[in-house]
Symmetry: D2
Subunit: 316 residues, 4 copies
Amino acid sequence: KSHTPSGYRKSCWYEEEIEENLRWSFALNSILHTAATQYQDIALLDTKPFGKALVIDGKLQSAEVDEFIYHECLVHPPLLHHPNPKTVFIMGGGEGSTAREILRHFSVEKCVMCDIDEEVVEFCKSYLVSNREAFCDPRLELVINDARAELISRKECYDVIIGDLADPIEGGPCYKLYTKSFYEFTIKSRLNPCGIFVTQAGPAGIFSHTEVFSCIYNTLRQVFKYVVPYSAHIPSYADTWGWIMASDSPLLLSAEELDLRMKQRIEGENRYLDGKTFSSASTLSKAVRNTLENETHVYTEGTARFIYGHGKHNQE
Amino acid sequence: KSHTPSGYRKSCWYEEEIEENLRWSFALNSILHTAATQYQDIALLDTKPFGKALVIDGKLQSAEVDEFIYHECLVHPPLLHHPNPKTVFIMGGGEGSTAREILRHFSVEKCVMCDIDEEVVEFCKSYLVSNREAFCDPRLELVINDARAELISRKECYDVIIGDLADPIEGGPCYKLYTKSFYEFTIKSRLNPCGIFVTQAGPAGIFSHTEVFSCIYNTLRQVFKYVVPYSAHIPSYADTWGWIMASDSPLLLSAEELDLRMKQRIEGENRYLDGKTFSSASTLSKAVRNTLENETHVYTEGTARFIYGHGKHNQE
Amino acid sequence: KSHTPSGYRKSCWYEEEIEENLRWSFALNSILHTAATQYQDIALLDTKPFGKALVIDGKLQSAEVDEFIYHECLVHPPLLHHPNPKTVFIMGGGEGSTAREILRHFSVEKCVMCDIDEEVVEFCKSYLVSNREAFCDPRLELVINDARAELISRKECYDVIIGDLADPIEGGPCYKLYTKSFYEFTIKSRLNPCGIFVTQAGPAGIFSHTEVFSCIYNTLRQVFKYVVPYSAHIPSYADTWGWIMASDSPLLLSAEELDLRMKQRIEGENRYLDGKTFSSASTLSKAVRNTLENETHVYTEGTARFIYGHGKHNQE
Amino acid sequence: KSHTPSGYRKSCWYEEEIEENLRWSFALNSILHTAATQYQDIALLDTKPFGKALVIDGKLQSAEVDEFIYHECLVHPPLLHHPNPKTVFIMGGGEGSTAREILRHFSVEKCVMCDIDEEVVEFCKSYLVSNREAFCDPRLELVINDARAELISRKECYDVIIGDLADPIEGGPCYKLYTKSFYEFTIKSRLNPCGIFVTQAGPAGIFSHTEVFSCIYNTLRQVFKYVVPYSAHIPSYADTWGWIMASDSPLLLSAEELDLRMKQRIEGENRYLDGKTFSSASTLSKAVRNTLENETHVYTEGTARFIYGHGKHNQE
C-alpha cells in the first residue's frame, strides 16, 4: 500500500512549545520510557539532535549532549569560590547530574540531595547511565522530602547550598523556594560561615531574562552582600540560561585562580567551564546588565499570595 | 528547570507527508520497534488516535483500529463471489492480515503468501499479535520470493489471486505486477476456471483516484471480461481507498446473496463489510465513475521503460 | 547568512487539530485575510493542497477545491425530493455557498439566509468570489439574527429548511438548534405541507459518526416520519461527513428519477452529486447503520441543561 | 460545520529545518510578501515571536526583534577599532541593515554596498521600513555585482571591508569569498593601511562552531597578523552566531576605550553592543577556543575544486 518506495523524511518528532508561539522539535529515534508520578509526567526520549533527553511535564529538562553545560555552571562556580567545600545540600536535583558534578570535588565529604519526587529519582537512577556512579557514591545522602521542610528540620549547616529547582512561577511547586524570606531565614541559617548559595535562575537571553532571572537576582541582592549572575547558551534549550551565586563573603577569583583550583580540586576535566569561560559567562550583555541593575521586583510570599497567577510568570 | 509545572500538550508525534503539501500527524504513545531490512525501513508505532501502526519507508501501512476495513475489502468480495474458493495466492501481504481474513473462509484449503521481504514478515509475525493465529494456521504456505517469479515457476492454479502490493509507481518495486502483460500472461494462466483476481488499487478519493486507481481499472478491463472497482474511506489513511476485482466469470451478487454467503462461509462476523456496504462501496461517485469510464492509459512494461519517473506517479 | 543555498522545503503551514491527538496540515501560499468578529475569529488562507480555505476559530469551514461536495450534499437532496420547492430558509450559511446551490434551482422564488454573524457574512461576500453572484441574486433575502428567534418571529412557512450550522456541542452556540423540541415546535410549524428539513450532521466516519451524527438522526426520527441519513468523504476535512434529511412525506426517489429531476430543475451540472452517488451516499456502511439503529440518545434542552460540558461532545 | 466553538490554538506556522533533525517554528500573523528572484526565493513574514522576518530560500535571514544583535556585532567592532573609518565596502548586505549601522558612524564618508541580487535589494528597500533612511543616505553607493568582481575592478581602497554573505558552503554561491587566496590577493589589496576586514562567520555554538567558524578563523590567521573571533546568542537563529575581525594592525581596545569611542563616534545608542558586551563576546568558551586553536583546515579554491560537495558543509 506504500506510495513512496524510497527517499522519505524523518517521521517521529518530539515537539516542545517554548512559548505559546514558538516551537522546538527534535527528530526521535525512540521513546525509551514514560511514567506518571504523583507529581509529574516523565519521559526519557532518544532524540537525533541531542541524544537522550529527560522530559518532565512536556518540558525538556536535560539532554545527553549538552547537560554538562547546565550542570558544570550550576555546581563548579560556587564550589570553586568556596575555600574548602566539604558539605553540600542540593534542593531538587533528582536527575543526579548535579550530584555527579559535586562529587567530582575531592574536598566534598557529604552531599545531601533532597528531591520531593521519589519516582523521578528512581527513574533517573535506573535510566541515566552516566549518573549511576554518583547515585552509588557513599558520600551521597538521598532524601525524599520538600526541600524547605527538610532544611528547616535539619540542625546542620552546609558549605554550599544549591537550588536545582523548577522556575519560580506563581502557583508553581517551587515558588516559595525563591522568596526573600526563604533566602533570609532558611538558606542563610543553614549556610556555614563563608557559605555560598547558588541557584539556577531561569532563561537569561536578551529577551527572556526579564521573566525570572532579573527578579531572582534582585531578591538575592536584598539578602546577600555579594551576588554574581552568569549565563550560557544551551543549544537544546534554544536559549541562554542563567545562574546566580550569592554569599556574604566576597566572590572574587581571577580566571587564572579558577583554572588553578579546577586542576587541584576537581577529578577529571570540565567540558564547558574554565576560568575564561566563567569570566565571559559572568560578564552579561548590556541589555541584561541594565535590566538587572534596574529591577525592583522582589519575590515574597506576600506577593505570591496576592498576585497569584495561573501558571503565568509573575511580572507584577 | 521546568517552566510549566502543569497543563502541557502532547509532545511526541508521528508525521507523514501524504503529499508534498499535506501532512497527517498522530500523537505517539511509544515507538515499539524499528528495523531496517534489505529492502525497506520498518517501524511499529503505538499511536494515540489509531493504535498500533505499521510504517514502512515513512508511509503508514496499516493501523490497528481500522486495518479491518482495508483487509475485509481486499479479501471478502473476491472470495464471496467465487462459488467455492479452496486455494488462494497472495502477492505480498507480509503483514499477515490478508491471510488472516482469507483463513476465516471455511472453504479455503490452502493459502500461499508470497512476500519478497523476509524481515518484514518476521517482524510482523513477532509483533502483530492479532495475526499470530493466521501465521500458525497449517493451511498457510509462506514463501519468500518475488511474486511474479514465484507465480511463473509454479505449475498449480488458484481460485483467487490477491494483489496486496505497493502502488504501481514507475521505477517502484511493484510496477511490473500491475501491467497488462503480467495480468494477461501470468495472472490469467494461474487462475482456475471461474477464478477471480483482486488487487488493492491505490487511493480512490474524489481527487486522488486519477493517480493510479483509474489506470489499474483500465488495464484490468483490457484483460478481463468483468471488472468491479470499489472503494471505502479509511480514516488512518486520510483518504478513500480503492480495490478492483476482475474475472472472466460474471461478478454479480445482490446484497442479500452476499449477506447469506458471509453467514455460511466465514467464521465470525465482519466488522466492516456486509451486503449493503459492498453495494455502496461498489457504486462509485459521479466524478470517479466518469474518470474510470474515460481512462485510456494502460500500464505496460513499455510505458514504464520509456516514461520512467523518479518516484513520481505516472501521468503520461 | 543563509546556510542552504538551494533545495529547501515548504515553510509556511496551516495546522488543525482534528482531535486532540490528530493533526492535519496544509502548506500555505499566503494568509489572505484575517478578522475577529463579535462571535468568532475568521481567516481566509490560500493553501497549496486545497486552494482558498475559510477558517473559523481554528477550524476549517470550507476549502475551494472540495466545498462543492458539502454544499451539493446539503442542498440538492432535499430540494430534489420536494415536488416543487419555491421557498427555502437557511439557518446559518453565511459563507454563501449554500445559497448559491439553492439558487441554481429554477423553481426557487425566495431564499432566506439567516446568519447571526454579520461580519462573517460581509467577509465572505467580499472575499469568496465564487459566491458573489449568489449574494446579488434578487431572490436572496439576507437576515442577521439568531435563526431560532427569526423562525419563531416569522409567520410564513417554507418548502425546505436547511440547517447549515456548527455541530450540537453542549455549551456551543448551536446546541438549541438540534433539540427535539426545536424540531417539533419551531421547524415543523414553519414547514409547508410536504416540506423537507435537512441539516448537516457532523462527521459520519466509521468511528466519528458516534459523536453527533447518530444522535441527530435519533432526535429527528422522534419528530419526523421519514428520515434519510447520508454521507460523503470530504478530503479537506480528513473525514467522511454526514447530512440528514427529514419529512413527514415519503422521501423515495430512484437514482434515475433523481438524475431526471437534476436535469430538469437545476442550472448547470453538479460536480459531485448524481442519482447513483446519492444512492451510494445514503447506503451507510454496516457499523454506522448499526449505531444509528441502536442509538437512544435524544438531544433535548433538558439534557443540555444538566450535562453541560466545556466544549466537549455530549456522550451522556 | 465548526467543531470547537472557542479556545483553539494558533494555526499558521513558519517552520525551518535548522538541521535535518531539528525544527524551529514560529506562529504567523501573516505572509506579507513573497517573490522569486533570478537567484533565490524571498519571503517577508510577520511572525508572532520575532516580528517581521526576512526568509531567503527557506532560511531565516533576519528578524525584526533581534537583527540588531547581528548587525551591531558585524559593523561596530571593526569600525570602532579603526582610528578613523571614512570608507567602507560591504560584500552582500542587500537587506540594508549593515549599511544602516555603518552610516551611524559620523566619520564615514562613503559606504559601498555590493550585492549580486538586485531584486532582493529592491524587495528590502520597499518593505524593510527601518532601513529606508539608510537606503536614501547620499553616502551610500549601491552596486549590483558579484562582490569579488567588483572589488577586483575597483582601483580605490577602503578603511573597512565587511563580508555580509552566505556561509562558505562548497558549491554554494559565496565559497570563493572565504578562501585564503581571496583574502590574500583581493581583500588585502583593497584595504588601506590600518584597514580592517570583518566577516560574519556562521554559527559559533558549542557544537556548531566546527561547521565553518573555526575554518574561517584558521583561514584568516594565515593571512592577517591580528584575528579576533567573537560570538553572540541570537534568539531567532536558535544558536550562537560568530564574526571574525582581522587586520595587520593590532586590534586591542579595552572595554572603556570602546565605550568612549561609541559615545564619540556613533549616532544614537547601541541596543546590544557596549564595551563589556564585546569583551564577553570575544572571550570564547573553552571548547570553542580549543577547536579554533587546533583547527588545521584552510579554505582554498583548490580544496573547493576537488572536494566539492552538494550543499554540504566542508569538513574535509
